[in-house]
């Protein structure tokens, strides 16, 4: 340690500060970090099919901000994205989309984890008994990621679906009890 005179220590500190600073700034700006933290990871094909003559697929992904989400995809593009069930007042809702080039709309949406049975009105209208004008049509409830539930299938035939973005859906658990968005609220 005798050889480390004061001037040498100063020189050494200066060199460390200058090159250490350059290394830190250069390291933080290094473009090799690009792509190391993708916003979407782990895509998994859940199901695919054809509706109205057009092929679609449902892919489950993990988004870094929203967690597990489902994409309805057509031809390499996302038509609809959903990460959780949605609802208004007493009713859960699912999306209605007409795929590009398709002749019939498709229903797509996430349902609560307890959902065992789901139905929509044949005309896409209200599903509450006192307001309903058409019969209920059962939907196939599918599972994803263990406890998640979702619906994807062609809308029942009829003119009532044109122009709709969402439709109410009646949801029941395995015991036949109706589920509503209000059930999720803390009491």
């Amino acid at each position: 340690m005798i050889w480390l005179s004061t001037s040498r220590i100063r020189t050494l500190v200066a060199v460390v500060v200058v090159f250490g600073g350059l290394a830190v700034v250069g390291g933080l700006n290094w473009e090799g970090w690009d792509g190391r933290r993708p916003s979407v990871t782990g895509p998994r094909l859940l199901t695919e099919g054809t509706t109205g003559g057009v092929k679609w697929s449902v892919v489950q992904v993990r988004e870094d901000t929203w967690g597990e989400c489902l994409y309805l995809r057509q031809d390499g593009a996302t038509v609809e994205r959903t990460c959780t069930e949605s609802g208004v007042l007493q009713n859960y809702e699912i999306s209605v989309r007409t795929l590009r080039g398709a002749t019939a709309p498709i229903l797509f949406g996430v349902l609560p984890a307890a959902a065992a049975r789901a139905e929509v009105a044949a005309d896409g209208g209200d599903v509450q008994a006192r307001f309903r004008k058409a019969d209920l049509v059962p939907l196939e409830v599918r599972g994803f990621d263990g406890s998640g539930r979702f619906v994807v299938q062609a809308a029942p035939p009829g003119p009532g679906w044109a122009g709709k973005n969402t439709v109410p859906v009646a949801v029941h658990d395995a015991a036949g009890r109706p589920l509503t968005p209000r059930d999720r609220r803390p009491r």
Binding site: V18, L22, G26, E31, V40, L45, D75, G76
Partner: protein
């Protein structure tokens, strides 16, 4: 004699270190001017854009950059990037990515109704067919990225409006066949 040579060695070392520090600082400050690119767009009204390939090891990104004159310390600003498409589990292809960048004009102070479509694709894709919401199919050849597993593309599309969306993205291989994308 030994003392003189030591002194010369020390001086040379100091000069070398100073040169290293100055060149390192210079590179960090203005080095982005000379970074290599795979595509360059000189637009009539819009800013200049360039596409570069970044990333390291097995991960690569197609990074679109816009030339800017408003910031004295930044010459090229990142406009966006599209990184390697993940393979879809239980499927037979990739989760398609791709980006749309609305062209900006610093001179006019607004965004223009034209876009640059860009992205990174699997190496098997030699061309890409993109359909925007105007319904017109646009086919473009992909460009070598410098990495064996990936190619990139960048397409300038004028007069398409302010809110452009990709509604279809198909990859074609060398024989003209379709690659599966979800």
């Amino acid at each position: 004699m030994i003392a003189a040579s030591r002194k010369a060695l020390r001086r040379s070392l100091i000069v070398l270190l100073v040169l290293l520090a100055v060149s390192g600082w210079t590179y960090l400050a203005i080095g982005d001017r000379w970074k290599s690119n795979v595509a360059f767009f000189t637009l009539d009204e819009g800013d200049n854009y360039r596409l570069r390939v970044t990333g390291s090891f097995d991960v690569r990104c197609a990074k679109l950059e816009r030339e800017t004159f408003s910031d004295p310390y930044v010459n090229w600003r990142e406009a966006g990037k599209d990184c390697v498409w993940p393979r879809v589990a239980d499927g037979d292809g990739w989760l398609a990515g791709g980006r749309v960048e609305q062209v900006n004009s610093e001179r006019l102070g607004r965004r223009l109704p034209e876009v640059i479509l860009y992205g990174i694709v699997p190496a098997a894709a030699t061309s890409i067919e993109i359909i925007l919401d105007d319904g017109t199919p646009r086919e473009a050849a992909t460009i070598a990225s410098g990495h064996d597993d990936y190619r990139v593309y960048a397409v300038y599309v004028p007069d398409v409006g302010d809110r452009v969306e990709v509604v279809s993205l198909r990859l074609h291989d060398e024989q003209g066949g379709d690659l599966v994308v979800y």
